[in-house]
């Protein structure tokens, strides 16, 4: 390394030092600490006592932990593909040259500006079984079905019925897909016009153009949104926490891994146990991201490659 290169390196490090220091102090250090504390009996104030893998052994037989994992997996398995499809379809529609396109784009983006706590509080009432707007809108449909089939079906009590509570949260989260839509829209602007022109000359239909041109070119963006959705879904916390008033929901149906982690860390002061849950959550997200990366290698198209 020449003197000039060394000077450049020093300058570069100096300029990036605020981020580097922040990362080391507020990300890497807590990450390593939580890894250590996950092997300790630790209640925040008492001195951590090393207990090996006991916390992990306890987790393995903790029915509530497994329930939280199942709830989170169900939520992720539904919310990620649903969010992906809805945001992609919205982006494709909002990319059409229609009058008032800017207004529509703004309208669909607006909900994602609402803070999560407000979103949770708002949808708590929207999904109220008796007074909520959602069931108000569904009531005529149920009346029609009941009239036709002679049944006595009623709209679900979203947040009080354990079979529907997770769906209630999924709809709420779906309301904030605006961010993903904007990212897709940005990606859509990068699709080369000449590809569409060539397809037009070949007589391709709108669907063929979407399937064979738009989606392949957009695939890196889809991959990005999928990974972000994966991380976001496994970290879902604020919305169900607000919607249930800090509880686990009916029949613990809204006990997610993050909720259980938070309860153990800050309600029960089992910080070591909470750290172990955090480590497991990290491993799940890390593993699934690797799987997503491997699966996407064949299907993601990078123009620069």
């Amino acid at each position: 390394m020449t003197r000039g290169e060394r000077a450049n390196l020093g300058l570069g490090l100096a300029f990036t030092s605020p981020w580097l220091i922040g990362f080391l102090a507020f990300c890497l250090y807590p990450l390593l600490c939580s890894l250590y504390y996950s092997c300790c009996d630790y209640s925040v104030l008492s001195t951590p006592v090393f207990i090996g893998l006991q916390n992990y052994r306890n987790l393995a037989v903790d029915a509530l932990f497994w329930q939280s994992v199942c709830n989170t997996l169900f939520f992720a398995a539904v919310a990620i593909p649903l969010g992906l499809v809805v945001s992609l379809v919205l982006a494709l529609l909002l990319n059409c040259k229609i009058p008032g396109r800017g207004i529509f784009r703004t309208i669909f983006f607006l909900p994602s500006l609402v803070p999560m706590v407000c979103l949770g509080a708002l949808w708590q009432w929207m999904l109220n079984g008796q007074l909520g707007l959602v069931n108000n809108a569904l009531a005529p449909l149920f009346r029609l079905v009941n009239g036709l089939l002679g049944t006595h079906l009623t709209p679900p009590d979203w947040l009080q019925d354990e079979h529907y509570a997770k769906w209630g949260v999924i709809f709420t989260v779906l309301w904030g897909v605006g961010n993903a839509v904007v990212i897709y829209l940005a990606g859509l602007q990068d699709v080369p016009r000449y590809l569409y022109e060539a397809a037009d000359i070949d007589g391709a239909s709108a669907w063929q153009k979407t399937w064979h041109i738009t989606l392949p070119v957009l695939s890196p963006v889809i991959y990005f949104n999928t990974v972000m959705g994966l991380i976001g879904s496994f970290q879902v916390f604020a919305i169900p926490y607000v919607m249930t008033g800090g509880t686990d929901g009916p029949g613990r149906s809204l006990l997610f891994v993050t909720t259980y982690l938070f309860q153990n860390a800050f309600d029960y002061w089992n910080m070591g146990y909470a750290c172990a849950i955090g480590v497991i959550l990290f491993l799940i997200i890390f593993g699934l991201t690797i799987v997503a990366t491997k699966l996407s290698q064949k299907h993601v198209y990078y123009a620069g490659k």
């Binding site: 000077a7 020093g10 300058l11 100096a14 300029f15 030092s17 605020p18 009996d41 209640s43 925040v44 104030l45 008492s46 006592v49 029915a63 509530l64 109220n128 079984g129 008796q130 007074l131 009590d157 009080q160 019925d161 354990e162 509880t247 686990d248 009916p250 029949g251 613990r252 309860q263 800050f266 309600d267 029960y268 002061w269």
Partner: protein, 449 residues
């Protein structure tokens, strides 16, 4: 100076300025006074009541000054601040958290200071002093207390042909009143109920008390699945069985928030509820002006054996571990605990006083017309404090979930309670072994003069 050197100097200066901006804290002006930081969990009028006492203290002398801050989610922030070595000097927490805080060494024991300032058990209603005592040490002083009682809507009683001044005395009587007060719409849905344990359902873990049940044996065994507790939760289970789980769910969905004019109790949807003296504030703010209510001991399964059963709570004032001025902090606490200031505080919060002695004016001036009934319950020999368990938070959460499961017909009382029993006994055993490990060090520290 070369250009690259200049750039380096500029960059370093920028970093230094950035760090200085982050870490600079102006020094407080020297006044010669000891300044105490007091964190209080309340906001609104309850916080104002304590603020008035703090103001009195500050103007009463010139040696100590108390800075009063209302802090949200104090129970979490106080523990973390104490762990971080920057606790306030004094804090107002919920009394039921004392075992968790004490066993985590987050508090300063007050035995020596209380003895020095002649503060004794005899000055207090027994349960409130006992609540502050844990593992042979005194950790707090009680401030504003409460007791749970049956609150009933007199108009609903009158409309149902019941004597509005005669509340039920036993569970059997409560259920016969319930039959009279419950009304159905032609389609079978519920319009009003005499009693519904889940409305408002704030105390899901307490129901066993009115059936003679206890939560633990006081030493090492959880007794959640005792026959008395099972009987209590079978009574809860009888509600979905008698009225229909779906109908109750739909009925509850039609209620507004507790702190609103649409509260089920104020709107004549539920006639009898389990609540404490704070209900007065909600009635004053949200109930119709002509709302008539009564207060009595909540009925027990056997009133001859279980008379005036109640569950009591109290706020507590503590000195966190590592506080800089424990002696000055206790001087402030002693001031708060004086009869005149305690009555001012409790009047401000519309509660009764935890002190044994109260001035005649206290009841006269208290806007809560039923304050004496609540206080009498706290003095009962069947008044119970929250079990002094470090696993109380998770137990309470588990009971909340159990009541939901039982009320929706998803679990029987036996299933729900045996689940809690197994889980919480395991957790309790773990905490006990942690305590046994820490006890020698902690007790030695606590016993230091």
């Amino acid at each position: 100076m070369s250009n690259s050197l200049k750039t380096k100097v500029v960059v370093l200066l920028c970093i230094a300025a950035f760090l200085a901006l982050i870490f600079y804290q102006p020094r407080p002006a020297e006044t010669g006074k000891i300044t105490l930081q007091y964190w209080e969990k309340w906001n609104g009028f309850e916080a104002d009541a304590m603020r008035a006492v703090v103001d009195d203290f500050n103007s009463s002398q010139d040696r100590i000054h108390v800075e009063y801050t209302s802090v949200s989610n104090l129970d979490r922030k106080l523990m973390l601040a104490t762990a971080g070595g920057v606790p306030p000097d004094v804090a107002g927490i919920y009394g039921q958290l004392l075992p968790v805080y004490a066993e985590n060494n987050a508090l300063t024991p007050l035995d020596a200071l209380a003895a020095k300032y002649q503060i004794k058990r005899e000055n207090y209603i027994n349960v409130f002093w006992d609540m502050c005592f844990y593992r042979d040490h005194l950790w707090a002083m009680p401030t504003t207390p409460g007791s749970l009682a049956l609150i009933w809507n007199k108009k609903m009683f009158r409309d149902a042909g019941l004597d509005p001044d005669q509340p039920p005395r036993s569970i059997a009587e409560l259920e016969s009143f319930n039959e009279r007060l419950t009304r159905h719409a032609p389609d079978g849905s519920l319009i009003a109920m005499g009693h519904l344990p889940t409305e408002p359902g704030w105390f899901p873990s307490t129901w066993g008390l009115w059936f003679g049940g206890q939560f633990w044996n006081g030493k090492d065994k959880i007794t959640v699945d005792s026959p008395e507790n099972i009987a209590a939760y079978q009574w809860i289970q009888s509600y979905p069985q008698r009225f229909g789980a779906d109908k109750i769910l739909a009925f509850r969905d039609s209620f507004g928030n507790f702190a609103s004019a649409q509260n089920a109790f104020f709107t004549g949807r539920v006639a009898m509820i389990l609540q404490g003296p704070w209900i007065y504030n909600f009635i004053k703010n949200y109930a119709p002006a002509d709302f008539e209510w009564g207060v009595a001991a909540f009925p027990s399964v056997d009133p001859s054996r279980l008379k005036d059963v109640t569950w009591v709570q109290s706020d507590a004032i503590v000195i966190p571990h590592g506080a800089r001025h424990p002696e000055a902090s206790f001087e402030f606490i002693k001031y708060v605990e004086s009869q005149a200031e305690m009555e001012k505080l409790c009047l401000g919060q519309r509660k009764f006083s935890p002190l044994r002695a109260t001035s005649p004016d206290f009841y006269k001036n208290n806007p809560n017309p039923h304050i004496a009934e609540f206080e009498a319950l706290a003095r009962s020999s069947n008044a119970h404090i929250t079990p002094q368990l470090t696993i109380w938070n998770q137990c309470d959460d588990a009971f909340g979930n159990a009541v939901t499961q039982i009320s929706t017909g998803n679990q029987t009382a036996e299933e729900a309670l045996s689940e809690i029993q197994a889980r919480e006994q395991d957790e309790f055993d773990r905490r006990l072994s942690r305590w046994n490990r820490l006890a020698p060090t902690l007790t030695a520290e606590w016993n230091q003069p």
